[in-house]
Subunit: 355 residues, 2 copies
Amino acid sequence: MNHKIKWLRDKISRMDMQGMIITNPTNIKYLIGVDAEGILLLTRKENVYITDARYLEKVNKMLTIDDGIIVTNVMDVSKDDYENFFLFCENVGFEENHLTYAKYKEYIQKYKINNFVETENIIEKQRMIKDSYEIECIKKACEITDNCFKHLLTFIKKGMTEKQIAWEIENYFLLNGADGVAFDTIVASGPNSSMPHAVPTERKIVSGDIITIDFGCKYKGYCSDMTRTIFIDFVQDYIKPVYDLVLKNQELTLKEYYDGANVRIISKMVENDFKLNNFDFVHSLGHGVGLDIHEEPIITSKRGDFLLRENMVITDEPGIYISSKFGVRIEDTVVITKSGAEILTKSTKDYVVIE
Amino acid sequence: MNHKIKWLRDKISRMDMQGMIITNPTNIKYLIGVDAEGILLLTRKENVYITDARYLEKVNKMLTIDDGIIVTNVMDVSKDDYENFFLFCENVGFEENHLTYAKYKEYIQKYKINNFVETENIIEKQRMIKDSYEIECIKKACEITDNCFKHLLTFIKKGMTEKQIAWEIENYFLLNGADGVAFDTIVASGPNSSMPHAVPTERKIVSGDIITIDFGCKYKGYCSDMTRTIFIDFVQDYIKPVYDLVLKNQELTLKEYYDGANVRIISKMVENDFKLNNFDFVHSLGHGVGLDIHEEPIITSKRGDFLLRENMVITDEPGIYISSKFGVRIEDTVVITKSGAEILTKSTKDYVVIE
């Protein structure tokens, strides 16, 4: 049986569950490496992956005997089979943050489950700590992203639209070994940069523009995430103090990211420094990165204490946004090590001015 | 107030609900045109969109006074506000096929909801019937897809990998007016074509190959979906009867798609013809296409009767898959009209042989 499934079986057993239904596709990919439509059952003795005919051959090719997973076509599962899966199970776990209410009701009936028990993100929490393979994949995704940024510095020209730049980024990823983008690329120029989640428009780049570029790719399923804010021809005087303040806090945060650090306090530190300068901090300071672009942990002061641990991969991305005028965000993806944060996105954070 | 919100208010009122919480992002985009993270509340008198600071400016720009939507920052909503939203509502609707079990429990508490009532996909069902703007967008997406196919016929060469062809498709979309791909492009060559949901690999195209290409783009948020199965140098003799059988059924289906037709019977017709020839039909015959690539209705014999209606946009995509050997699928996107099915993807379905 693969070691992640073994871990999960131990974990639920200690929580007094005799079975579990896993429906979150990212968690299934994490556990058994399978990228299809289906659900994974841990029954008393077996691990069963139920999929449909569209995916059967593909899934059977991805799994080996050693994985210890029985792959079943949903069309071959009878009413009795469903009722037998968890026959002598008192408690069966489910993913309450993924399963819809409709499926929750359906499953209780279909599987004749006694107690259907919330599992409080046990798999997501485990996913926070990356193994060496996962870190290597994220490093590679970050390297491609850095190279893409270098390419952009010679590609971006006045007169181009935000959309053209976003396309070039996606194209670069596709042609340079990435699986594709990790999320919808943000290229926000001039006043558009005041929207943290701007969608690329037909606005043309002009002299004096500020451009926020938030982008990342996937490599073997693992994401990178980087933001750089750059300038065309010159840096407007009114922008400089904001850029410097964001960068100062981005770098301070990097120093505070280490094994054992409390992210609530780090976020509060940045918030307070922004407030001292009369700016609000409108989004979280960062988030985990892995198979999903946004994973646990969320780096914020709005939740309780949370301590960073070795081999977590997270972002550091403070930003300031001045409505209808401009915005500045600077973001790195980092891995937490015993001795601090190792920065995986290495592109320069000095003023970058394109002429 | 916009007419879609008016429609929904009438609808829930007739279902004896005094309010509704809409959480499915595609439904929110459909109702108010907003593409962000947030939830939409229809309270007794108001329509409230709750989002966060990252999206506030963007959402405010997208909506006008005429939309009649109050946009609120989630940080400004107090405990009392939550409890007041549905204060005199006996029944409040929710989307049981979208809301997670965890959110279901949270909302009942937070909003102090008396009866939280399932709404049985009322919005998804309405979305099945497209208006003229939506049909125009889908037509445009299909046109770009047809042009991309024409481009592929000169682009594809022996020695290229499946991945290279998939990249070229995505690149073509980005550079020719599409928002991007509508779903992960499938390019499955040789034996890989036997997997209906194959992921593009490094396999190189060789003489005698069959290649299944399933692809589509988005235009203004609306999807296209087309599959063509093509050949390199020549068509293997053992493939011809399978191709002909799939094509015959694909074309028969097109004739059977009209306002009032029962999709259960049409699907059964194809299944039976495949069975007569000793082949299984392993997936559904088609699905709705719109803001989502897979929407209601699902064209299958596995559910009850379902009648097509004018202005539904659906696919017609029979396929036969011979494990580890090869597969053939041919798919069009069509709009149902009074007089039949208007085919929106117009690329040839004759044998296409690339040399």
